[in-house]
Symmetry: D3
Subunit: 132 residues, 6 copies
């Protein structure tokens, strides 16, 4: 199994709902350093998993949809408790949509899976992985 990973980041404000979150129930924020991993059993004719330039562009586009915003005010996230885990899934699902729409090139339709890791600090991170 092969994989390729690209890294980008976004900076957001949000608050979390639930006593379990303690002081993080207050409005605060985070830098998420985001690693998007694309998996594929065999390489394509060019010898790659995915066009890494297009993959980086797609990740940057998703970062642009979410970053520099207060997630509490985003209609696109109404009803979502925007935990690191939940945002990892949203980023992965949006990348999957873009892959299926052909935005990563025709070869990307052969991808087997996708994993997204959000690093919220030097001591904590969350991941979500899914088939494609």
């Amino acid at each position: 199994m092969f994989s390729v990973t690209v890294r980008d980041h976004m900076m957001i404000a949000h608050s979390l709902r639930g006593e379990v979150f303690g002081p993080a129930q207050r409005l605060h924020g985070a830098t998420y350093v985001v690693d998007a991993t694309f998996r594929r059993a065999a390489l394509d004719g060019d010898g790659i998993v995915v066009d890494i330039g297009r993959a980086a562009d797609a990740l940057r586009a998703v970062m642009g949809e979410l970053g520099h915003r207060n997630l509490d005010d985003e209609a696109q996230l109404a009803g979502v408790n925007t935990t690191t885990e939940a945002i990892a899934r949203i980023v992965a699902d949006r990348l999957a949509d873009r892959a299926r729409a052909g935005e990563l090139g025709d070869g990307a339709r052969e991808l087997d899976g996708l994993a997204v890791t959000l690093r919220e600090s030097h001591v904590a991170w969350a991941s979500y992985e899914r088939p494609l």
Copy 2:
């Protein structure tokens, strides 16, 4: 599949038994930077894999049981060759015990697995993963 990881560290002395270890048969030591990863197929009602504060506390407690000690003298480790691999398993098993005892919250009983990575330097690390 979702996961959440927290990082902590411990500083120990020990020696290793067996010719394969060369100079590490002498009493020496290590800083282990420890990453504990908790895996779960679906998020709980709060949108999380595990209460990250409790997970960090549990990891810190395990670090406190082992850290700032000469592992060669610890009754709890009698007969164990304290390789990085072996300590990774001990840390993982202790975290699993704490999860089953409810120390990570009720939701943590739904965890599917656990992985522990011990980084002993910038060029070497070991991991152990197990179901929960």
Copy 3:
């Protein structure tokens, strides 16, 4: 010249005032991974620059004063454009105040200087250094 550095982090929301900030004029947020460096020409009688435990506690205390907050609403920061550079200075000045108040131990009164670096992502950071 000797130095000792401790690392901690805080997660804040804020917005920046000025056209130069582009989309960062909107309410967003950041994780700041904060490195506090203490400098001293000669070691004290224990062979250290500063009690690293107390230094870490002091840094954690400053993180607690600022973290998990929307800096736009903090009376303590009224009139401050909370750029990474400006927050680096605030953290350094607060650590200097704590050092002078004896919170880092008597030896810390011999410190020559202090530097604070705030890493806002894997590709950008800011520092402020000052004498003590």
Copy 4:
């Protein structure tokens, strides 16, 4: 499941064939920071996955076969489009050959699998994993 990873690096020149590579079709180069991960279900009698010294030596030997070269001129790579993914596979296959030849010790014949990650920058990397 246990694993042990060792890190080394190599510095190579090459060019890539195919329009998808844009400016990387020109002769350029890369530092690959290479992580080789050895997996095994149970530890051996010494309590290890593999002799980490021998594993590091084997990885260094493979780095020496490829590093400080222009891969475009290497007979050993004739016909290979030397993408990061393809080189990850070559490194993994060569380590597997060395393990089977006994170079990592007798215990290494019990290894279950091998993964190799090549980090080409702080924002991109590729991996290949295979059974052994």
Copy 5:
């Protein structure tokens, strides 16, 4: 004293002239992860050292002038032994030229100094710093 740093990278081929370089006399290559640090005694009216967006753009432009090339064939580098140290200076001097030309904004004319670090692997890097 304040500073701001931005990180980018470039991938180049080259060979080095001189017996001291051993196998690096052969054509090979490197990824340089480049940190550009801008220093200034006092913040400007916006509370910054330099417009970080413009600084990142200027660094990217310099990376584009050198990256994805065989430095041995570049007329702009004729006669230069392209060691990591020498390239650090070239990058710093080009950023200084851009700052003086107003490309980083008017405020950047107040910069006191500039430092550039090129990381060629996880175990080696070189820096050059200069006044502005």
Copy 6:
């Protein structure tokens, strides 16, 4: 001003004397990831600060003198409280001795200074710098 840095590591056991050290008064240990930085105002005829291969060899030799030992039992360190700060100085002084003895090449006699940083964990490190 130019500088070049090489990284290596050592793993030691020790205990610290003084109430300020709390649990670190017990026998424990550490991995020190060691960065040795060589500074020089102008490059030599080869375009370098120092022969990086020789610098790495010298650092490895110093690591070999101290590593895989219990520092409490070393005659060479009798009377030294082996804090991270103190070991940073010892490593720097030994590298300076080797430089003066010609071990880093003739050009290394032109070095202006030396800095050594010991990273004892992901959240704490110490440095010592001196002229040469």
